[in-house]
């Protein structure tokens, strides 16, 4: 290391000066966590943005336009809606789900276990719950950006029946968080990433297919429908579709929102607990 003389600017050893440090507020600390993750995202976004953006676009082209033409020709759309307008709001919610899983599995396990940055961050005034909240806030921000971008791209194709479609963005963020928050808890619990490939194969893919994204769940065999009811994606898809068509909210809207919020709330309690136990052994 270099001679410490370079530090004479302050005191011989480079101390900032005596006296207690100004205390930090929780908000300030959470913002610092967000700052960290956003900086990392700025350095790494090129690697993820193409996949993130290309996949919903492919779905839009293949399903919305390709399959859509066929469906509309044969059946006159779904419930009187052109297939494109049926499927795109579903894809918005679905994209939020996949983004959420992408951000809350390997990324979180990496910070816990591989590079262990979480534990370095906790040597500062941060609390584990603030660490969690800051990271989740960045995930919410990423969900906002990716959903808004997709809505903007899909709109010129005539994918939305109403300006209320802008509400599909917050719906997508909520849907994404309904997956991300519990998945943070999972990632802070499991020991290996094998769990994630199981998750992607046996949870994410079936949910994509059977949550009313591409066809109404009424088409599913009766025993499968309850599965759609208890998982978040179907609720997100229905809300997104209602928003996109400007359907006036009703009691069912509240029920869908409540389910998503329940996932976020229970997920938060679990994740906060798992983070504390795992990161402060």
């Amino acid at each position: 290391m270099a001679s410490a003389d370079a530090l004479t600017a302050t005191t011989p050893s480079g101390r900032l000066g005596r006296g207690p440090r100004r205390p930090t507020s929780a908000t300030e600390r959470i913002a610092a966590v967000m700052g960290h993750h956003l900086l990392v995202a700025r350095r790494t976004w090129k690697g993820t943005v193409v996949g993130r953006f290309a996949s919903p676009l492919f779905f839009l082209l293949a399903m919305g336009l390709g399959l859509g033409a066929l469906v509309d020709e044969r059946t006159g759309g779904i419930d009187g809606l052109p297939y494109l307008r049926f499927v795109v709001p579903g894809i918005v919610a679905m994209q939020a789900m996949t983004t959420a899983f992408g951000e809350s599995t390997y990324a979180v396990m990496g910070y816990i276990k591989w590079n262990q940055m979480y534990s370095a961050m906790l040597a500062t005034p941060l609390r584990s719950s603030e660490l969690l909240l800051g990271h989740l806030a960045v995930v919410a921000l990423q969900l906002t950006v990716s959903s808004a971008a997709f809505v903007l791209v899909a709109a010129p194709f005539g994918a939305f029946g109403s300006w209320w479609a802008v509400l599909a963005v917050p719906v997508a963020v909520l849907t994404g968080l309904a997956f991300a928050v519990p998945t943070f808890a999972l990632s802070a619990t499991v020991d290996t990433d094998n769990v994630f490939s199981i998750l992607f194969r046996f949870v994410v893919t079936p949910l994509m297919l059977f949550s009313g994204t591409f066809f109404p769940i009424e088409q599913l065999p009766g025993w499968m429908q309850p599965l759609a009811w208890v998982t978040p994606l179907w609720h997100g898809v229905v809300l997104s579709r209602e928003a996109s068509e400007g359907v006036a909210p009703g009691w069912s809207t509240l029920a869908h929102l409540a389910v998503l919020l329940l996932y976020v709330g229970v997920g938060w309690v679990l994740a906060r607990w798992r983070f504390r136990v795992r990161l402060l052994p």
């Binding site: 050893s13 440090r21 205390p23 960290h36 040597a123 500062t124 005034p125």
Partner: protein, 309 residues
């Protein structure tokens, strides 16, 4: 050093399941002191450091740091600590200086402050030329230097260094020691773990030797050597397999004989006299060396093991 007790542990215990990693230790560190934890692998040094760093809940016993209780005031205590963990934990996606900036922000330093501070610390860590590089391809020693620099970002009152110089080249070690001396002179309290005896003797006013989670000796380096070892040590090397044969002839020479795989250590206050006595008994080792006792010998005596295995 002042009389203010900065760290006080009574019966401090840490268990992981059934395993007792730290077994009821009593420690007191005063402000401005340089305090060391020595011990073989698995002795419980890092576990103790993590409790002191308020990132590991105390299983039982009492722990007070800066007059505060870690269970209640963790964030307030951590704001005043600098922590260099045993393992270099850096964000490899970020550059060298970005690692310092984001870390400083957790302490509430402004953007301007973290930049100024990082500037100084990069200089100190000899990483100014690498400031914009990603961390991942840096050498092990550079990562270590960056981790140490980061622990100083918040200008701590107490510095916790867990094996700070492991992986550093000799020049970097001396620069770090120099820096630590300066910090100590300004009243910063140093709490250090190390496997290097020269480091402990150089840096620590007082130290404890830990083994199996317990404290087996305590005192200043000099006092420990005086209490637990002789003034001098004679190191004897024999041809392979001949060591055993000579053991009997060593009986009564010096105070004690320690058998290591590659050499014999004879503890005696006058090493040269002991060596002469051996010559008289017809013992002629391949090589011999008379040296002063070090903490290494204290350690060997107390734990029956060498420090660096």
């Amino acid at each position: 050093m002042t009389d203010e007790v900065l760290l006080s542990a009574r019966g401090l215990t840490k268990t992981f399941g059934d395993f007792v990693a730290v077994d009821g230790i009593d420690v007191e560190v005063r402000r401005g002191e340089a305090f060391g934890f020595l011990g073989p692998n698995g002795a419980g040094k890092s576990s103790t450091m993590r409790m002191v760093g308020c990132v590991s809940p105390v299983t039982s016993g009492e722990l007070t740091i800066l007059g505060l209780d870690p269970a209640v005031d963790g964030p307030r205590i951590r704001a005043r600590l600098g922590v260099c963990p045993q393992k270099d934990i850096l964000d490899e996606d970020l550059s060298v200086e970005e690692n310092l900036w984001v870390y400083g922000r957790f302490f509430g330093l402004t953007r301007a402050e973290v930049r100024r501070r990082a500037e100084d610390l990069l200089e100190f860590a000899q990483l100014t030329e690498r400031r914009g590089d990603r961390v991942e391809p840096l050498s092990g020693g550079m990562k270590r230097r960056l981790t140490i620099a980061r622990s100083l970002m918040n200008d701590p009152e107490v510095l916790l260094l867990d094996e700070p110089t492991t992986g550093l080249d000799p020049q970097a070690r001396h620069v770090l020691w120099d820096r630590l001396f300066r910090l100590k002179r300004e009243g910063v309290t140093l709490i250090i773990t190390t496997h290097y005896m020269d480091e402990a003797e150089q840096l620590c006013d007082r130290l404890v030797v830990m083994d199996h989670g317990r404290i087996v000796a305590e005192g200043s380096p000099r006092a420990l050597i005086e209490t637990h070892s002789t003034r001098e040590v004679v190191e004897l090397r024999f041809a392979v397999d001949e060591q055993e044969r000579h053991l009997d002839a060593l009986d009564g020479v010096g105070e004690r004989v320690e058998v290591l795989p590659d050499r014999l250590l004879v503890y005696a206050d006058d090493g040269d006299a002991a060596l002469a006595e051996l010559g008289g008994r017809g013992v002629h080792p391949l090589s011999s060396l008379v040296r002063r006792s070090t903490l290494e010998d204290v350690f060997l005596t107390l734990t029956g093991r060498t420090l660096v295995d």
